[in-house]
């Protein structure tokens, strides 16, 4: 059984045929070559595979590609505009919030979803928002700092 689907990823439409058992994460990585989204635990606990579905963070390892036909998906590759990094991405670089980098895509997408709702979050609100993103380098302090810096730059319309 193969099913035609339309995946709308980062504003582009991709017409594909998938088997029902194909996981969204694997279709993004292996078929669309959007490898910024990572396979971590595979059971929805680590946040490495996070993408935004209609603006909400979800675990792309926990859904079938066929279920998301027609929905708006944003991956980390969709954040930079015209070759310029998103202010959150710049802030992660400037604050040294990236160590091995494996959690970074998910962290930034969680942060983006948070800032879209709440442009000036408290530390508690940031911690709550990234509760489902595990960083095994344990670089959380700089990650939280970077999210605050990114938030401030977005509010002020400035960049690093």
């Amino acid at each position: 059984m193969r099913i035609p689907i339309v995946l709308k990823v980062n504003g582009k439409e991709y017409c594909l045929e998938v088997k029902p058992n194909e996981i969204l994460l694997n279709v993004l990585r292996d078929r669309l070559h959007l490898t910024g989204t990572k396979y971590g635990c595979g059971i929805g606990e680590c946040g490495a595979c996070m993408v935004l579905l209609n603006g909400r963070p979800i675990a792309s390892c926990q859904t079938l590609a066929v279920c998301q036909s027609g929905q708006e998906i944003t991956t980390i590759e969709g954040l930079a505009q015209n070759g310029k990094l998103h202010p959150l991405q710049e802030a992660f670089v400037d604050e040294g919030a990236v160590q091995c980098g494996y959690c970074t895509s998910g962290m930034i997408l969680s942060a983006k979803a948070l800032l879209d709702k709440n442009p000036d979050p408290t530390t508690d609100e940031i911690q709550e928002a990234i509760r489902g993103n595990l960083c095994r380098c344990t670089g959380y302090a700089n990650i939280i700092k970077a999210i605050k810096t990114g938030a401030r730059r977005i509010r002020e319309g400035t960049r690093g």
């Binding site: 059984m1 099913i3 088997k19 029902p20 058992n21 194909e22 996981i23 694997n26 396979y39 635990c41 595979g42 059971i43 929805g44 606990e45 946040g47 996070m50 579905l53 909400r56 963070p57 979800i58 675990a59 390892c61 926990q62 859904t63 079938l64 066929v66 279920c67 969680s110 979803a113 709550e128 928002a129 509760r131 489902g132 993103n133």
Partner: protein, 298 residues
């Protein structure tokens, strides 16, 4: 062989747009419901489930709603985040709001449905205890032999029949959860004990209390993780109902919880769970009591 990266098992896929269509799809042999996927897909990945077909219900807009009338009706395709975002849930059913906040990470709340959590029927499901304490019922739909859609509504505690077992028959779909409006001077709360914040509960507990002055006029309490299925704490309720709330009366009632539970050595020893449950229920009732506007001497 199981792994968490790909699904090797093949199945048919149905994406109904209406409830009737879904009920027809569910009549196919070996078909089961797929909602948020956070339980079902993991079970398939790990080899625990090999369904012949999956019926994806999150595309059915008639099942995605929170409807306020005389109480609250939650459609079975409603994700947890929508409960968090509707301010009235926190105000009217704080036990349910506590459960949302304690349950999973953001990405899980954005995918998983409340009804799905009930249907997985884990003995420690975080939705079960609060909804039982709040007197919830579930609406179950099916197509009968004459091809007509039929609905039945049962109390949530009759929905759970054993560990990961429910009263749903093949072909049936849980379509809504119904919670009656709370009494005016009432409060509710949910608390859990887990390894770390996001983990599945070792024990969870919810209490709903109605208050007149210093007297508990009505109490409903439920516990998860301490029996093969989520249970009501009837002995505790009976001992506490009609009593003035004092640390002494609460502690005496909490001892009765031992009559209500039958924990096994899972995620903690049974002895620990018995001990912890009697304290957890006291803490939970105290929070519910405060929310009802009551005070308690220390």
């Amino acid at each position: 062989m199981s792994n968490s990266q790909v699904i090797t098992h093949d199945f048919d896929y149905y994406s109904p747009k209406t409830i009737e269509e879904a009920l027809k799809n569910l009549k196919e042999e070996g078909a089961r419901v797929l909602a948020g996927g956070t339980d079902v897909l993991n079970e398939i990945k790990m080899g625990g489930q090999r369904p012949k077909g999956l019926v994806y219900i999150l595309g059915i807009s008639d099942l995605d709603f929170l409807s306020w009338g005389d109480g609250l009706k939650i459609g079975s395709a409603t994700i947890w985040s929508k409960l968090e975002e509707d301010g009235r849930v926190k105000q009217e059913y704080p036990a349910l709001y506590d459960a949302v906040k304690s349950m999973g990470a953001v990405q899980i709340r954005n995918m998983a449905t409340v009804a799905g959590n009930l249907c997985t029927a884990s003995p420690g499901a975080d939705s079960a205890a609060p909804l039982m304490a709040l007197s919830a019922q579930v609406e179950i739909s099916r197509i009968n032999d004459r091809g007509e859609t039929e609905r039945r509504t049962i109390p949530l505690e009759d929905f759970f029949t054993g560990p990961r077992k429910t009263a749903l028959d093949q072909g049936e779909l849980l379509t809504a959860i119904l919670i009656p409006a709370p009494f005016q001077s009432s409060g509710s709360a949910f608390r859990k004990i887990a390894r770390v914040k996001l983990s599945i509960a070792k024990i969870n507990c919810a209490v709903y209390v109605e208050r007149e002055g210093d007297v508990c006029t009505h109490v409903r309490a439920a516990l998860g993780g301490v029996a093969p299925k989520p249970v009501r704490a009837f002995s505790f309720e009976q001992t506490m109902t009609g009593k003035e709330l004092t640390p002494g009366s609460l502690a005496r009632a909490a001892e009765m919880v031992n009559e209500d539970i039958s924990p096994r050595n899972a995620r903690s020893t049974a002895a620990y769970k018995r001990h912890a449950a009697s304290y957890l229920i006291q803490d939970t009732l105290e929070v519910a009591w405060k929310r009802s506007g009551g005070e308690m001497e220390k």
